[in-house]
């Protein structure tokens, strides 16, 4: 009987690729934002509103992750920014290799910020470092309060949490107090923004924060 000690990280290959991506983002001075949420919490709508408000102030690119379709990429394209589509063909998350492959098609050196819209899922994307500068989680009031405690890793990793569909708050049992309390326990330094992709409420505060992050990245 032979025992072979491995101590080999199962995600080691992804982490190597992520480091490579991170170096490239750094070299090009572009802020990479990994946007994650459950399906239907409003990532794409927030992105549309964000682009409308930031376009002209900074140069924006988007890497769109989706299982099979390019519906979201088409919506973003109409906003006049660089969009690259990644179809994961059934895989429930983006990985660093998939993101790295898009770099040939996206002029990173001309951009200030690149949003990576992950596949709608709160489980797997949390494990896969893409080389991004910051992770942002979107949760909507319609989803209920239980998400942070059910998916702690993704909330622990997030630098900011956007609570979306805030315009629907009066029609739900969602408690802002409870969500703030749960997030504060998991990740006390996370910024929380209350937004509505539909009405545009709160988008300005979120964008000011992003502009600050872009500035910090360049300095």
């Amino acid at each position: 009987m032979v025992q072979v000690r491995m101590e080999s990280n199962i995600l080691g290959a992804n982490e190597l690729m992520a480091r490579k991506n991170r170096n490239i983002f750094s070299r090009e001075g572009v802020l990479a934002v990994n946007l994650m949420s459950s399906p239907g919490s409003g990532k794409t709508t927030i992105l549309e509103k964000t682009i409308e408000s930031l376009n002209g102030k900074i140069k924006i690119g988007v890497i769109e992750g989706d299982l099979y379709t390019d519906q979201d990429a088409k919506r973003i394209e109409q906003k006049g920014v660089h969009v690259i589509q990644i179809n994961t063909e059934g895989t429930c998350h983006l990985d660093a290799g998939m993101v790295g492959k898009t770099f040939e098609q996206i002029p990173l050196n001309e951009l200030d910020i690149v949003f990576i819209e992950n596949v709608g899922n709160l489980v797997c994307p949390a494990e896969f470092d893409l080389g991004e500068d910051l992770k942002v989680v979107v949760i909507s009031t319609a989803e209920g309060n239980d998400k942070p405690l059910k998916y702690p890793l993704i909330f622990r990793e997030a630098k900011a949490v956007l609570v979306n569909k805030i315009d629907l708050l009066p029609y739900t049992d969602f408690s802002l107090e409870k969500i703030k309390e749960d997030i504060a326990g998991i990740n006390p330094s996370a910024e929380i923004f209350l937004v509505s992709g539909r009405t545009g409420q709160g988008i300005n505060e979120w964008n000011q924060w992003l502009l600050e992050e872009v500035k910090n990245k360049k300095s």
Binding site: M1, V2, Q3, V4, R5, M6, E7, S8, N9, I10, L11, A13, T91, C92, H93, N121, V123, C124, A126, E127, P148, L149, Y151, P152, L153, R156, D182, A184, G185, I186, N187, P188, S189
Partner: protein
């Protein structure tokens, strides 16, 4: 959710190492999985049973050690465990500047065979 792809890449790693070490039959694989990782031990076991069809793995058992979520307080250096409340605040000094030192593991510890 991604346990099948994790298991499949883990088995590729073991297969490669088995060849290098002249091992024809793997008897045991030991994994270490942190409780904060998003991989579920039951699903990993299921994926392993479904994937271990070839000669190298057919006799192999998978052992999974789960690791608790452990934090170290950056303020008072106290280490403490985090339970299902996922409350990452030091119980000693109430500081929220804590570093996760355990619970994110996802690695192959060793394998045995001949």
């Amino acid at each position: 959710m991604h346990e099948f792809s994790l298991m499949s890449s883990m088995m590729d790693t073991v297969r490669e190492s088995a060849v290098q070490n002249n091992i024809m039959q793997v008897e045991k694989i030991k994994l270490v999985i942190g409780k904060l990782s998003m991989a579920l031990p039951d699903s990993l076991q299921f994926a392993f049973e479904a994937l271990k069809k070839d000669e190298l793995f057919q006799e192999a058992v998978l052992e999974i050690e789960e690791k608790e979520i452990t934090c170290l307080c950056s303020n008072c250096q106290q280490s403490f465990m985090v339970n299902k409340n996922y409350y990452f605040v030091c119980p000693e000094c109430a500081s929220n500047k804590v570093e996760i030192i355990g619970g994110r593991e996802l690695y192959i510890d060793f394998f045995e065979g001949e």
